[in-house]
């Protein structure tokens, strides 16, 4: 057994895990953060995507011990401190970019990182940006739409002068 320290959604968590524990299982079953979903456990579907030190990773392909000392953001950590939905979350709602909602946490994490790095993606960049996650319900059209809508919402909120600050 290994004791590890993870900073998850801003809170420090100490967990004792066997070496083989997947990060996805650690988040879901040890920390009770069940918003991170597991769709294939072989790194293809992207449902388990979380942000590790800000970058999207497949939490089913990482052992929890490997994440020791790192910062993790899960879908539970995307909303603001008062629970207000992030621009990405609001855009998914407005654009009907989710149906069953199972893949949604992975898409939300992916798109959050995408827009941080590229606040105004082109159509091709938006499509490429979400093309590592599977969704069986939506046909993706509204997900791509939500990427653009989230970019708009973010821009409206930060204003043109703050553009650099966002980056």
């Amino acid at each position: 057994m290994n004791e590890i320290t993870l900073t998850v959604n801003g809170s420090v968590a100490r967990v004792v895990v066997p070496a083989r524990r997947l990060l996805s299982d650690c988040l879901r079953h040890d920390l009770g953060l069940t918003g991170t979903h597991v769709g294939c456990e072989h790194g293809v579907c992207g449902c388990c995507t979380v942000l590790l030190d800000g970058d999207p990773i497949r939490s089913c392909l990482m052992l929890a011990v490997t994440a020791d000392g790192h910062e993790i953001t899960t879908v539970e950590g995307l909303a603001g401190p008062g629970g207000e939905l992030s621009p990405v979350q609001r855009a998914f709602h407005e654009s009907h970019a989710l149906q069953c909602g199972f893949c949604t946490p992975g898409f939300l994490c992916t798109v959050t990182a995408l827009l941080r790095d590229n606040p105004a993606p082109t159509e091709a960049e938006a499509l490429e940006g979400v093309s590592g996650n599977l969704c069986r319900c939506t046909g993706y059209q509204n997900i791509v739409k939500a990427v653009h809508r989230a970019a708009e919402l973010t821009a409206e909120e930060t204003g043109p002068d703050d553009d650099e600050a966002v980056r």
Binding site: R21, V75, L85, L98, Q99, F102, S131, R136, G139
Partner: protein, 800 residues
């Protein structure tokens, strides 16, 4: 004031919880539960000679190992055959755990319960099963040879044989001016929801009650199956479908072995037990669909009118038939589409193979039927040198001809009578949206750039909203909140939103006061399930009828309080008021209080209904009808309602690499009155995406040993965003005369014609006859080589 809600594209009310990780999917429940895992057969067909658990029992954390012989009589019986049919003369279902023989890779042999899933899988790996392999039967055409048998007592591997005929098709074909005959192939695919199946059971030994959560499309029927099999009193069993991460048909099958075994083990062990399916298990132990070989013979006149059509189908239903022969019945009947065919004969054989069982996947046999019919229409057009849209138009049922009786028996056992539709208008709209008539100019422009493009179309009719019934319950409580429940389940269709829209509009309350619960037998125990694009039609209408009961009651109670005539009252934003006199008004929440005569004032609102506050007439009993402002009602249609649609696509095929790109995809869709266009469009997008998967990418690659070679998302190619074209949609709204809301189902529509449309467009681009789907770049490349050798058929247009 209450704004109009029926027909409005309001964003979904399910979203807020799902966007913050607040969904409750099966594996999110029961954090302390024991975990189950299964030993599954690695052989397609084998006799089990013995099972050795001597190493397995040494593992720390093991709780129990169960084999078939450990199950009590009733639990060990074969699973139910859900939909018997006289033509299914040799229906066979699996035992929950294999008894003596395994018949497909993935069939469960042993159940392990342990402290967690990791440990349970460790145990599974140490259980040694001694298999004596038997000859595997793979592919329906091999299977019907009957040289090896999937079930020793099913000769020729034929489970069912059914013929339906209207008129004398063979004679009509013989006498026709033109005839064609050809063979078509459709591969296997699968529903493949991103959340697999899963079951979690809790047993209260104190009061002997069982609660089961299962990722299902039919919680009420799972409940009855569990109660019957475990011999529990029905009132002691509750089944809840929590948030379900997609279904698309596979979760309508029930009870799965795990839905019996997990509750049984939970009771036996007195501990909570949970099983969550992993992806490989889903590939090899749930269900697939689509696979058919079809033989078509058609006779037609020079205008392209079909005079006789004969369709022979070999349907591969895999190792077992728990869902009967619904899929080939739907193929047989829905092949007719929007057409009046002179005479029609359809015959199918439903065949056992040593592969995963075949049960409905979104579309449920319709994509195959539409493929047969639309390929036929294209061949007729090519043979006669006519435009493909002209041939279709020549065969359409006309708007004046409804109700139109196709003369067959549909999947619900009722006559196949179409209720309404306007197929010529759909086709005109489709042609104009995709610029059908000017396509030759675009083809020439593309050709000038060295590019190869083609256009195609496909038409379908979809029987939706099959019976027997659904119900709804609507209750207004004394806080003014409106609680709605229906028994069928949700897997992402937005039922919490659309049913709330219906209630808000029917009752005259704000949607923010309404909550909707589906698939929870504690709230509504009577239901059929979510399949066949039936939820909006069935539960939507049932809830509307229940709401009307509540409204009538509210008006009666309010009329008495306001000393007005109920006919003069209206409900606006939760206030019952006299029309034209806004001062004479009473909130619905007060009406709710008054509808339940009380002795005890448990809060300030309740005080209004106590015996000295609301004395009433001393000559009448205080309670005049059932207490409470609530209503329950059911909707049971005489038969299905028939939605329709037409799709068209422009594809580009790479002259060198044979890559296939869909450049445009246009959908004209008619599901009657739309409750929420945003949600209907979402359903269409998702359906088309699954259709594109089935047309270009997805297949279940079984080898001759019955091994599924691509049982992972690495190898089974589900489309990502980059594979799905932008989908352009337009709606016609031809109301259904069969139900109070005038609606038809929309859930499956998107997927139905896609293979036919894509085949039509590729055929048009390439000038090569396309007769099997899906088609990959390699398939197309090989087809080109075959054509160059003179071994593949060219279209007359390209040949001539």
């Amino acid at each position: 004031m209450t704004t109009k809600l029926f027909g409005e594209p309001i964003p979904r009310r399910e979203d807020p919880r799902l966007l913050v990780g607040g969904g409750r999917y099966l594996d999110d429940l029961g954090p302390g539960a024991l975990a189950a895992a299964f030993v599954r057969s690695p052989h397609a067909h084998a006799r089990i000679a013995g099972v050795d658990v001597s190493d397995a029992v040494e593992v720390d954390g093991l709780v129990a190992i169960y084999l078939w012989e450990d199950l009590p009589d009733r639990v060990g019986e074969p699973l139910p055959l859900l939909i018997p049919h006289p033509a299914l003369t040799h229906g066979r279902t699996a035992h929950p755990l294999a008894r003596d023989v395994v018949r497909h890779v993935g069939e469960p042999v042993a159940m392990v319960v342990a402290v967690d899933r990791y440990t349970a899988e460790d145990v599974c790996a140490l259980i040694r099963v001694d298999y004596e392999p038997l000859p595997p039967v793979v592919g329906p055409e091999n299977a019907v040879q009957g040289s090896a048998l999937v079930h020793a007592d099913v000769p020729g591997n034929v489970g069912a044989h059914l013929v339906q005929e209207v008129g004398n098709a063979r004679e009509a074909i013989e006498e026709a001016e033109h005839t064609l005959a050809f063979r078509l192939d459709v591969e296997r695919s699968a529903s493949m929801p991103l959340e697999g199946r899963g079951v979690y059971a809790r047993w209260d030994s104190g009061d002997s009650s069982l609660r089961v959560y299962t990722s299902t499309q039919a919680s009420t029927s799972v409940r009855m199956a569990i109660a019957a099999t475990l011999e529990l009193p029905l009132p002691s069993v509750e089944v809840v479908a929590p948030d379900v991460g997609g279904g698309f048909g596979v979760k309508i099958v029930h009870p799965w072995p795990e839905e019996i075994l997990v509750p049984w083990a939970c009771i036996r062990l007195g501990r909570e037990v949970k099983w969550t399916e992993d992806r490989r298990e889903h590939f090899i132990s749930s269900a697939h669909e689509r696979a058919q070989v079809q033989y078509v013979r058609v006779g037609f006149d020079s205008a392209g009118r079909v005079l006789g059509l004969e369709l022979n189908i070999l349907h591969d239903h895999g190792a077992y038939t728990p869902y009967g022969i619904i899929v080939p019945i739907i193929t047989s009947t829905q092949a007719l589409g929007p057409y009046k065919i002179g005479a029609y004969r359809v015959e199918f054989q439903s065949i056992y193979t040593n592969t995963v069982q075949v049960t409905p996947y979104r579309g449920a046999g319709r994509p195959q039927g539409v493929f047969a019919m639309e390929r036929t229409m294209d061949r007729i057009a090519d043979h006669l040198g006519l435009d493909r849209t002209e041939v279709r138009a020549a065969n359409f049922i006309q708007p004046s001809e409804f109700p139109y009786d196709q003369g067959l028996t549909f999947q619900d056992g009722r006559p196949l009578i179409y209720d309404s539709g306007d197929y010529p208008a759909s086709l005109e709209l489709l042609k104009s949206l995709i610029d059908w008539d000017s396509f030759e100019e675009r083809r020439a422009e593309a050709a000038a750039e060295g590019r190869r493009i083609g256009i195609g179309l496909g038409c379908y009719v979809e029987g939706t909203g099959v019976g027997p019934y659904e119900g709804g319950h609507v209750q207004v409580t004394s806080d003014g909140r409106v609680h709605v429940s229906t028994g069928l389940t949700s897997q992402g269709q937005g039922h919490e939103t659309v049913f709330a829209q219906i209630v808000a509009e029917e009752l005259g309350v704000d949607i923010s006061d309404i909550s909707v619960v589906t698939g929870d037998t504690r709230r509504f125990p009577y239901a059929v399930g979510t399949f066949a694009s039936r939820a909006a039609v069935m539960s939507g209408n049932a809830i509307a009828l229940a709401t009307r009961k509540v409204r009538d009651k509210a008006l009666r109670v309010a009329a008495e309080a306001l000393e007005a005539d109920p006919g003069d009252l209206e409900i606006v934003s939760g206030i019952v008021r006299v029309r034209g006199n806004p001062t004479a008004a009473i909130p619905l929440k007060t009406v709710a209080v008054l509808s339940n005569p009380l002795r005890y004032a448990f809060d300030a609102e309740a005080a209004r209904a106590t015996q000295f506050a609301a004395p009433g007439s001393p000559d009448e009993p205080p309670l005049k009808e059932e207490p409470g402002l609530e209503g329950r009602d059911y909707y049971s249609p005489i038969r299905s309602t028939f939605a329709s649609g037409m799709h068209a696509a422009v594809v580009e095929t790479d002259p060198v690499t044979a890559e296939i790109h869909i450049l445009r995809y246009v959908v004209v869709h008619d599901c009657g009155k739309l409750i929420n266009p945003l949600i209907v469009e979402g359903q269409i997008h998702g359906g088309v995406a699954q259709g594109v998967g089935g047309a270009l990418y997805e297949r279940m690659a079984y080898d001759e040993h019955g091994q599924l070679l691509n049982a992972s998302f690495m190898d089974f190619l589900m489309p990502y965003a980059t594979e799905i074209p932008r989908i352009e949609t337009a709606h016609l709204e031809t109301p259904s005369p069969l139900n109070p809301l005038g609606i038809k189902g929309a859930g499956e529509a998107g997927v139905i014609p896609v293979s036919a449309v894509v085949a039509s467009a590729i055929e048009d681009a390439e000038g090569l006859v396309i007769s099997r789907m899906p088609i990959s770049p390699s398939d197309l490349y090989d087809l080109r080589l075959a054509a160059a050798r003179g071994e593949a058929e060219r279209t007359s247009r390209s040949a001539g």
